[in-house]
Symmetry: C2
Subunit: 355 residues, 2 copies
């Protein structure tokens, strides 16, 4: 087994770095996890629905960590008109993220009807912007739609949008099912798909007992996890890393008894940024795909987005040692009034960053 790996400049094509004190805490962790280019999600409070708001956020991230290339997105909303799209494209904003209404963190302003946004999608196609889809429909007990099949039920929307806008670049974000992998594989080259690190490890068995494993979409069955792993093993360039690293304050990841006598639900999100590339290397090695690391984390996404690696941005990883503490992920990260727990806490990573 090789003891060192060098890969081109890694990119994370789906990351949440939040705002305020949480942003101050987690933004520097993106580079620490080995990422040189980060595609940033716009679901802030309020959501980023104007070019000015996005550029202001980008300036904030560059202030906190100028070493990372921050690629920005808009939040699809009725405020986002074709004119807004043109202005955003001119300003260098890469994509627009679609949140189905109410499905995940800060998505109350999200989308209910995709066709209502066709003029926006057309403007995006004309201006070469990328459409980023959170691929779930809302639960509906009457139709037996739950978190388990919400992604599968979304795939008809994906196929329709891809058919109606054949030149629009579309990314199905954080795929979790064999059906999604199959759908993306069967669609033309304008449709790609991000896969998180944690969905390469978790199944539904790991979720009910552990709120720190709860995210949207929830991890599915072993056969689904295997389909994600196999997509990476195949080397198909449609599939690349989007960590969906999503920090939440530790206190909001456990149920709390509230003042009104009810019990709060835990927030959805798994936080992987500080360990991201070593974690992906560890996981890919576990299912025999370490040779696909460069493609998955460095090349495929950059090619799809048209964001080449900068000069001298290679990342060197080495195998962790055998000592008790080597590669061990330890406890929480604390900032001013905020504390977050990374995924893999208490477990060992097989790889660590050298440079």
């Amino acid at each position: 087994m090789s003891e060192e790996i060098v890969i081109p400049s890694p990119a994370d094509f789906h990351v949440h770095v939040r705002q305020g004190k949480m942003c101050e805490l987690v933004t520097p962790q993106v580079a620490k996890g080995g990422v040189r280019t980060a595609y940033v999600m716009p679901n802030l409070v309020p959501p980023l629905t104007s070019t000015d708001a996005v550029l202001s956020y980008k300036a904030e991230l560059e202030r906190i960590d100028p070493s990372v290339q921050w690629l920005m997105t808009l939040y699809l909303h009725t405020d986002v008109t074709p004119d807004v799209v043109r202005k955003a494209a001119d300003a260098g904003i890469y994509g627009i993220k679609v949140y189905p209404q109410g499905l995940t963190t800060n998505s109350d302003s999200g989308v209910k009807d995709y066709e209502a946004y066709y003029p926006v999608f057309q403007a995006m196609e004309e201006n070469n912007m990328v459409l980023n889809l959170h691929g779930e429909v809302s639960s509906d007990a009457e139709k037996n739609i739950s978190v388990l099949n919400a992604e599968v039920h979304f795939l008809s929307h994906l196929k329709k949008i891809a058919t109606d806008f054949p030149k629009l670049r579309i990314v199905l974000e954080h795929a979790t099912t064999a059906a999604a992998i199959e759908a993306v594989s069967s669609l033309p080259a304008n449709v790609a798909c991000t896969i998180t690190a944690h969905h390469l490890y978790l199944t539904i068995d790991d979720v009910p007992s552990q709120p720190h494993h709860f995210c949207k979409p929830v991890a599915k069955e072993p056969k689904d996890r295997k389909a994600l792993q196999d997509a990476i093993k195949s080397g198909n360039p449609k599939f690349f890393l989007g960590s969906d690293s999503a920090p939440h304050p530790l206190s909001s990841k456990i149920p709390n008894l509230t003042d009104d006598g009810s019990v709060s639900a835990c927030a959805a999100g798994v936080y992987t940024s500080p360990i991201l590339i070593p974690l992906v290397a560890t996981l890919l090695e576990s299912f025999g795909a370490l040779d696909k690391l460069a493609g998955f984390v460095s090349e495929n996404g950059r090619k799809f987005y048209g964001v080449p690696a900068g000069e001298n941005q290679e990342l060197k990883l080495k195998r962790t040692g055998n000592g008790k503490e080597d590669g061990l992920v330890k406890g929480t990260f604390k900032g001013e009034g905020v504390e977050v727990l990374p995924f893999w806490t208490g477990k060992k990573l097989g790889w660590e960053i050298v440079n």
Copy 2:
């Protein structure tokens, strides 16, 4: 809508009342929830594998609350021989509970191979004892077996045992799937099935965000919940209440950072005893089955087990009022060094106990 209901003596044919300080706290809550007869699970530490241990536990429960009729079970284990079965039957122990190894609270001593226990099942059949099955197989990623289909994969074991022991009374405990309802319905009258209160309300959507909704088996899809509701609506006497009320200390229902640097998993169990019969009435009314309340909680299980209601044990319920606090389930129960949170906390019950 009627404002009062009177039903025969309610029975809960599956309840955990634990041991030590937890037992002191939760045992009196069984009667407070409207239950006159309680069928008690044997998964203590160590598990109850001898008649003497069971009788000693029964005496303890009678000391804490002599008003309840405590029906006792043994824990199936290699210590439980046909001789032990005969002794247990003579001592008035009603049944033997089978825990698949490692699947739920205190099940490390559980069963891996059902056929190895055929001599025990035969002795049970001869001595008119009831076999209580936790109906799940172990997860196995290679076979795509997870918590979602663990019950469905168990049904072949149920069918085989029922076929091989046609006179053995068998209860599939806490069914959660449409497939289980269908299997029990299709088997002869010696096979019955308990249904919990919480599985009439929860689906998988409610579980990942809320460890207080995590239990084994986990709640499944909306179509499965509907199958449980429809089984009750049908009035089929094979289906009756077994709450699986399973208290855990509040601290073990949330993830904790442990001294060795890892993150603990949350314990599996939903606690319903203190509100059980009002909760069942509220839920049955919600899906149009209030007229089946007496059958589900009082008659069907008693008939299957041969445990008639005592004299003057009717339970009277009345509709809760419209005041802000009427029917509201409030916060935790605290005992000496132990605190538990009941299901439905912060929500309102539609019915309350009069007598």
